[in-house]
Point group: C2
Chain length 338, copies 2
């Protein structure tokens, strides 16, 4: 009988999470009940929003309690099925555990159908991040051809797709990212019109050249001072999609900064929060488009793969250091297969 390693929340992090906030414990492999499925994890997704679940505060995702097994999007293989839709060997995705194995209600799973694309893409470009980018552009920013769209964390799982979809829509696209490797990737491989390295450049000043006609759409993954800089360039009737605020997630005190409502008023801007769960009824639409774009090369993607479940906390913590290019996933080697 294989053992089942799983991560539990050892402590609520103070500031930036550390390894000590996570405990790897061993448990029995669970038995699936009626209509349940036992899944062996192949890939685990770590995402910035999980930081919010480690906090004891109401937000859009339920807070985790200390001692809870951490949860996240997983791509895995069905090992045992009591659900008519799934058989042993099927590849599925769903919200499961930071663990080797987990049991899920079969109705909560989705079959992975990524065509010629890798299975792990179901956690990135063809999963939640890709869909977030899709609805953020089509439903929130709604840019017109010729508009200038700026995206922060532009080399990340969501931002890289946002920029490419905006390019498909005929926009001028400017990405903001944290290293020259990333900005080169944006302009040289993904076709962004310009990219700004916020670590070495003055974002507000550089936007004057990179967005000479101002900013019509801003897809914000980071918040904080980068967002302050972009707000200074918003055009009249600009749209802002607020998708993430990673620059603030590790703050213990209420973050303060320049008040933005005056800018929103002066520019008659629309600033809208974006949460992918609100678009659940239209996931198929997004997946269909994304699969087509990826297959015909209109949307490219990268993944940063960390090997071993035991390294999941480091992969997660690395998100706040900007260590990943594209989607950060953890490849989980089940001990039973070792």
């Amino acid at each position: 009988m294989p053992t089942n390693r799983q991560f539990v929340l050892a402590d609520r992090p103070t500031g930036k999470p550390t390894d000590d906030d996570f405990d790897l414990v061993e448990a029995d492999v669970p038995d699936p009940g009626p209509r349940e499925v036992l899944v062996r994890t192949r890939y685990l997704s770590v995402d910035p929003y999980m930081r919010g679940r480690m906090r004891d505060a109401e937000s859009y995702a339920e807070p985790w309690d200390v001692g809870d097994v951490l949860r996240g999007a997983v791509v895995g293989t069905v090992v045992e099925s009591n659900h008519p839709d799934y058989a042993e060997g099927d590849t599925v995705t769903g919200e499961l555990h930071w663990a080797d194995y987990a049991v899920a209600d079969g109705d909560s799973l989705t079959r992975v159908q990524t065509g010629a694309v890798s299975d792990s893409a179901a956690l990135g470009v063809l999963g939640m991040p890709g869909r977030t980018a899709y609805f953020g552009v089509t439903d929130v920013l709604e840019p017109s051809p010729g508009d200038t769209v700026v995206v922060s964390a532009a080399a990340g799982a969501v931002g890289s797709v946002v920029g490419q979809i905006a390019k498909l829509g005929g926009c001028r696209v400017v990405g903001i990212a944290g290293s020259d490797e990333k900005t080169d990737y944006l302009t040289d491989e993904l076709g962004f019109d310009a990219a700004i390295n916020y670590g070495t450049e003055d974002v507000r000043e550089r936007l004057g050249d990179a967005a000479p006609h101002g900013v019509d759409g801003y897809f914000d993954n980071v918040g904080g001072e980068i967002t302050d800089a972009v707000f200074a360039h918003l055009n009249v009737r600009a749209s802002v999609a607020v998708c993430g605020q990673i620059a603030l997630y590790n703050e213990e005190d209420l973050p303060v900064g320049p008040r933005k409502l005056t800018t929103i008023l002066q520019k008659r801007a629309t600033v809208q929060g974006l949460l992918i769960g609100d678009y659940a009824a239209r996931f198929d639409e997004a997946t269909e488009r994304l699969v087509r774009w990826v297959q015909n090369g209109d949307v490219e993607f990268r993944e940063t793969v960390t090997d071993g479940l035991e390294n999941a906390p480091d992969a997660f913590i690395g998100l706040f250091e900007g260590e990943n290019v594209g989607k950060q996933v953890v490849r989980v080697e089940s001990e039973s297969d070792a």
Copy 2:
């Protein structure tokens, strides 16, 4: 020949404007050119947005230069007309001068048609403030019956109309204002469900009772800490119309406060700047509705009338002290009629 008194900007105010920032100068009564009309001022509107025009900074309204004659919405009588649409004695409204007389392109004027309502209403409930309230509710907040709508500066020219239109739409309406006289007016005369005196009550705490199901729509005229308090009560998918930020207009330094984008994200709220000029093509629709509501008593209004052009600066400065209930107007006695 009567003289024409007119106010010029003597200095750009630092912080709260003072009398010294305004100069009353005498000039000749101007002659109207082709298609122009000479108008004698009867009522002059003073509005908070004018503070922005006194600042040397780009905004939605052109900045005034020191020495410029101040401009504002006026209701007046045609004294001389070179325009086919207007004859001596007609009552018109338009953006004219803080002055006894001004000349205007006839095409820029509108005939005052307030029915049984007073002519000065064309500066308030049937003018720019009323229309701002109308589009703010119908096009930005778009509340459903049963929603809770909160409005700040609720006893002012815009806020009082916002609340009454939301009540007509079946909403629970909570007003925030600065005196017991104002909160009594809101609940006892205008039919608001609750009103909070921000001068004596803790807005954030009181909203727990006044908006027990949270806030679905917030019409913001003030910004600053009152808005911080309302944001703490926003519901998921709340709408915020940013119409004014009077609490910040006299700040010399960039106002700072709690960052709001995290709340906007968590609540998937939509925050939109509202400027009435953007709705110019639909002014008739708004005026028609407002006239009907006022005539049948569905929308009530008050005016605070200051007598004498020479007192216009005090009336304007009083806006920042919250001295007015309803629309603040200045009744101008032309010297030629004295």
